[in-house]
Amino acid sequence: MADVLVWAIWILAAAGCLGSGLAVITFTNPFFSALALIANLGSLAVLFLLASAEFLAAAQVLVYAGAVMVMFLFVIAYLGDRREAPLAGGPSWISLAALVAAAALLVEIVVVIGLKAGDALADEASVDASFGSPGEIGRLFLTDHLLAFEITSIVLLIAAVGGVVLGTRSEAEDEEELARARA
């Protein structure tokens, strides 16, 4: 019974995930795309949860869907009226080739998974309840994956600096602006 429920939730989550994913890349308005991505992240969090990744599911919702996407929406809002973006466009061969390439990748990965599905992927390891809990993750982050943890912070710091540097006006730009205005 519980299995059926899990299956049902899984299917819903998976469908939501794929649907919102498609929505992200098909909406012409970036704002809606971003919203769809939030849905996508949310349904992914459900899948995470089903795969015994509790902490990650939580992080996904809080950090990703919460913080990051808010920033996204903020920027989209900041950019204002340039929101509309055509679906695709440009030379049509690019679009065609893009679809072919994406489909090829999909087929390949699916085939690969299918080839393995019979044996290796069928029998998961048995795990106890604490698998994926914040405690376990935290312990690993301070032992085996200490460096990964630290590096993550460095990367974030760099990105923050980058955001600031790129996001603020520079003197040179000001001058250029001024020059253009004078002209």
Binding site: I94, A97, A98, A101, A104, E108, V111, V112
Partner: protein
């Protein structure tokens, strides 16, 4: 003996170098005298060698002297060696003696030419080269001398280098001789390959062990060289053109010395020719053909020097005939007498030309006997010697060749007949020339240049050599009288290798007499006919236009060679340029460049600037890579 030979060889070289090095710091006259003296010094050296040799027994008359190794590689060595033996000493005497006279003559002839120094340097160089040829102790040095005389000939024919015809003639002479040189070199390669040496004695000995094919090849190569150098058919066309050079040059190179080198070569290499009798016969045959053809062509030439030049070809034909049949001594004998009387004729012609301010066309001459009586005498003697009227030198030497031909079987008889016909022709063309130039009424041109005899017929430097040669042309033949005494033949005998006597054929006394009667008779007939046509003008010149045109075009040899060699060569050269060099060699570079540029352009197109395509490339590459990995696995 060897010291004399070295002196003989080096004196002219020193003269040439001295004149070149001193350049304009000496007067032209000084240069002329340096050259003359150097050649006479060479003659002195030759005399020393000759006298020294006379004092020795027959066995001791041969000596080889080596200065240093000239060329060596692997097992092959060739020294800078001189061979002194009766044959080479004979040649040394002729070359330096006649050469000295002609250089002396040049002083007068070339007086006033702005580039006299160059002329005399070349003359000395020529004499040096010719002596190198005749003194060479091995085939390689002989080839060196062979080539150097060709070079000197080129330089001297083209001496008046502002005349395009002179330059062309010089080139033609050189190229034809280069052909001969190359053929000779090929013969030497066979010798090196098969015998490992080019020393005369060793090579002759080694040649005895060769197969007939190889011997024939060697002999053929040598013959080709000889034919080219001696202007025999079919490599003869350069000689008439060579008359573009100053007249003393014609006398020295194209009459007395260089052109007869072919005969010397055959005699020098006689052991090889004896091993290859068919080639020797070929040589004799070519000589016979040449003597006839040249004689015929000489009948219609209008340039005084060209007539003599064809006569030279014809006479060398006799020598080839003799040498080819094995009458080496007789061939050499005729070589010597020919040197005297032909040099005489050229120099006498030179006096005429000099007198007429470089006019050479006999149709504008006539009646010069009054203006130049002594020249007329000299020319007459030379002509008679040439025709072979006894007791002048030509009689003895030519008749002995013909007698040898008569004595050497069926083939020889054929050649004998040709020789007799040649004798008739000789008389005819020689006296045609003499009568047209000297007899009759003085022509307009001659009158124009008639300064009276106040100036004489030329400066003493010119007349003295002519006089000396006139004497020699008369007495030169007396050193050998057929059937009576043979000092000349005996003198040369030591060069016979492994045999009692040098000559292969010994005509009987009867044959000698028959020959003499016939030859002299036919010569006289020729003179008589010439007299009837050109002297007394009782007979008109027979007119057969086609024949005449053919003869005036020298049997179309030049045209033939142009059509067969030169024009195709030029066309091939052009074809190669347009068909290979430009489209293939250059075009391949163009093509590669163009292809690379196009490829680069295509790649530039692919670099669209759309970042999506960049990602696309990655995605596609990944897709391919995954497929490959999985399928290969």
């Amino acid at each position: 003996m060897t010291a004399g030979a070295w002196l003989c060889l080096l004196a002219p070289l020193c003269g040439a170098l001295l004149i070149t090095a001193l350049g304009e710091s000496i007067s032209r006259r000084t240069a002329a005298w340096i050259s003359t003296l150097s050649v006479f010094a060479a003659f002195a050296g030759a005399l020393i060698a000759f006298v020294d040799m006379l004092g020795r027994g027959h066995e001791e008359r041969e000596a080889v002297t080596t200065a240093w190794t000239w060329l060596a590689a692997g097992e092959f060595h060739a020294g800078l060696s001189l061979l002194v033996d009766p044959l080479s000493v004979t040649m040394m005497l002729i070359v330096s003696g006649v050469g000295g006279l002609i250089v002396l003559y040049s002083i007068g002839y070339m007086d006033g030419d702005p580039e006299e120094r160059r002329y005399f340097a070349y003359m000395s160089l020529f004499v040096f080269s010719m002596l190198m040829l005749v003194e060479a102790g091995n085939f390689l040095l002989l080839l060196v001398g062979w080539g150097l005389v060709g070079l000197a000939s080129y330089l001297l024919i083209g001496f008046w280098h502002e005349r395009p015809s002179a330059v062309a003639a010089a080139k033609k002479a050189f190229v034809m001789n280069a052909f001969g040189d190359a053929a000779m070199a090929l013969a030497f390669f066979v010798l090196i390959w098969q015998t490992g040496t080019l020393d005369f004695a060793a090579a002759f000995e080694g040649a005895g062990g060769l197969s007939q094919t190889f011997v024939d090849l060697v002999a053929l190569g040598l013959l080709a060289g000889a034919v080219a150098k001696s202007a025999q058919i079919p490599l003869h066309t350069w000689l008439p053109d060579a008359m573009e050079g100053p007249t003393p040059v014609s006398a020295l190179i194209h009459a007395a010395t260089m052109v007869t080198a072919g005969v010397y070569l055959i005699v020098r290499a006689h052991p090889i020719f004896e091993l290859a009798p068919s080639i020797a016969d070929l040589a004799a045959g070519l000589g016979a053909i040449t003597l006839l053809v040249a004689g015929v062509i000489a009948l219609v030439q209008t340039d005084i020097k060209r007539v003599i030049a064809y006569s030279t070809m014809s006479q060398i034909g006799y020598m080839f005939l003799g040498a080819g049949l094995g009458a080496y001594g007789n061939g050499m004998f005729h070589l010597m007498t020919h040197a005297f009387f032909k040099a005489l004729l050229f120099m006498a012609a030179g006096l005429v030309i000099h007198h007429l301010a470089n006019e050479q066309d006999i149709r504008r001459m006539g009646g010069l006997r009054q203006a130049m009586p002594r020249t007329y005498i000299a020319f007459l003697i030379g002509s008679l010697a040439l025709v072979g009227i006894p007791p002048l030198s030509g009689f003895f030497s030519k008749d002995s060749i013909l007698a040898s031909a008569l004595a050497s079987g069926g083939y020889g008889r054929l050649l004998f007949a040709a020789g007799l016909a040649g004798a008739l022709l000789t008389g005819l063309y020689t006296f045609r020339l003499l009568f047209i130039v000297f007899l009759g009424e003085p022509s307009a041109l001659v009158r124009e240049h008639d300064h009276g005899s106040a100036h004489g017929e030329g400066p003493w430097t010119m007349t003295v050599p002519v006089a000396v040669l006139t004497v020699l042309a008369v007495v030169g033949g007396w050193v050998q009288v057929a059937g009576i005494w043979h000092p000349f033949g005996e003198w040369l005998d030591p060069i016979a290798v492994g045999r009692e006597h040098l000559a292969l054929v010994e005509p009987t006394v009867t044959q000698d007499y028959v020959t003499s009667v016939l030859a002299v008779g036919l010569g006289a007939v020729g003179i008589a006919v010439a007299w009837m046509i050109y002297g007394s003008r009782k007979w008109s010149v027979p007119r057969v236009p086609s024949v005449q045109r053919t003869l005036e075009h020298k049997l179309w040899f030049d045209e033939l060679y142009d059509a067969v060699f030169y024009n195709p060569g030029e066309r091939i050269s052009g074809l190669l340029r347009r068909g290979v060099e430009e489209p293939l060699i250059g075009g391949s570079i163009e093509g590669v460049t163009l292809g690379a540029r196009e490829a680069a352009g295509a790649l530039g197109e692919a670099q669209t600037g759309y970042l999506r395509t960049y990602a696309l490339a990655i995605a596609a590459a990944v897709a391919v890579l995954v497929v490959v990995f999985i399928t290969v696995q």
